[in-house]
Symmetry: C2
Subunit: 154 residues, 2 copies
DNA sequence: GTATGACCTCAAGTAACCTTGAGGTCAAGG
DNA sequence: CCTTGACCTCAAGGTTACTTGAGGTCATAC
């Protein structure tokens, strides 16, 4: 990981951030930022030296990408989640609000899945279980149907 | 994925399950089961034809592996989680209970992380936010410290 | 003037988690 | 007897999400 130590950062003019600054502020590795750009998840301008310059609003995007990673949402799905948020200009209040709600929905789904599993596992502990048949965990067809145990993308 | 259609399954004698049966009952692919075995997460005996035979209690292990995957716990960590559950004999009630509690703890952790993110994102929506500085999402050093946004294993 | 540091590109490597393919065994069914 | 299906092994391939490495450009610092 190339980190470009954040100590030497001086205020950049015009509110543009270098890749090193974005990295320092978001915690994402420089290489990761370049990778995200390749995927079209973020974008940058170039300065006269061909170095990436990021508008401030890009920090938000990167932050949300990091959040997504933490809860296991694949980057592909992010393309979709970001569909309505413009890359080339600071998104409007409304645009961000809509996107944020979408994010919240994803988080909720994720949480509910986990809560269901927790409840089931609690039941299992209570009943002295993980015994066949009774346990929902072991019978994916039942309680977990539509969310099955089967081969699935993370 | 080789599925070995479950239609032709007849009752196997002696309560041993073939790899196809385990696959059908757990939803894990046959290839995945062999892979888990390579990792030492599950184990099998062989019959006179050198085919894998699984004791019933192995189903529970596979079920828990599937659960782990769903919530994004890496298989490596499973080695640890399974440390006290014997592979070679049906685990005792107590052994399973202890392991189950461990699982519950992991689920709880995961859920709490998500809940925190949800709360923060709700705040962001409320404050018309994702504006710099105010938002915890964008300032990983603060609210999320110790759980930072930075490069981390899934 | 040369060294350093932050950046650039492009290609290849890594890790987790499997799947696919080639080539083979064996038992039961028609 | 021949086919089919379920299984076997071992090696290679695939996806996601990056990181690492080689080789190069500038501008500032000493």
């Amino acid at each position: 990981m190339t980190s470009y130590g954040s100590a030497s950062l001086r205020a950049t003019p015009d509110d543009w951030l270098s890749i090193g600054e974005v990295s320092a502020r978001t915690g994402a590795a420089v290489s990761a930022l370049r990778f995200y750009e390749e995927l079209g998840l973020i974008a940058s301008d170039r300065d006269h030296r061909n170095q990436r310059r990021y508008p401030r609003h890009m920090l938000r995007r990167v932050a949300l990408i990091s959040v997504a990673k933490r809860i296991g949402i694949p980057l592909q799905d992010l393309q979709e989640a970001f569909a309505d948020v413009p890359l080339d200009r600071p998104p409007s209040h409304q645009e961000w609000q809509r996107a944020s709600r979408d994010w919240k929905r994803r988080l909720e789904e994720r949480r509910q899945t986990i809560e269901r599993l927790e409840a089931e596992l609690t039941g299992c502990i209570g009943c002295g279980c993980l015994s066949m048949k009774a346990c929902a965990l072991l019978n994916p067809g039942d309680a977990l149907a539509g969310d099955g145990v089967g081969p699935r993308r993370l």
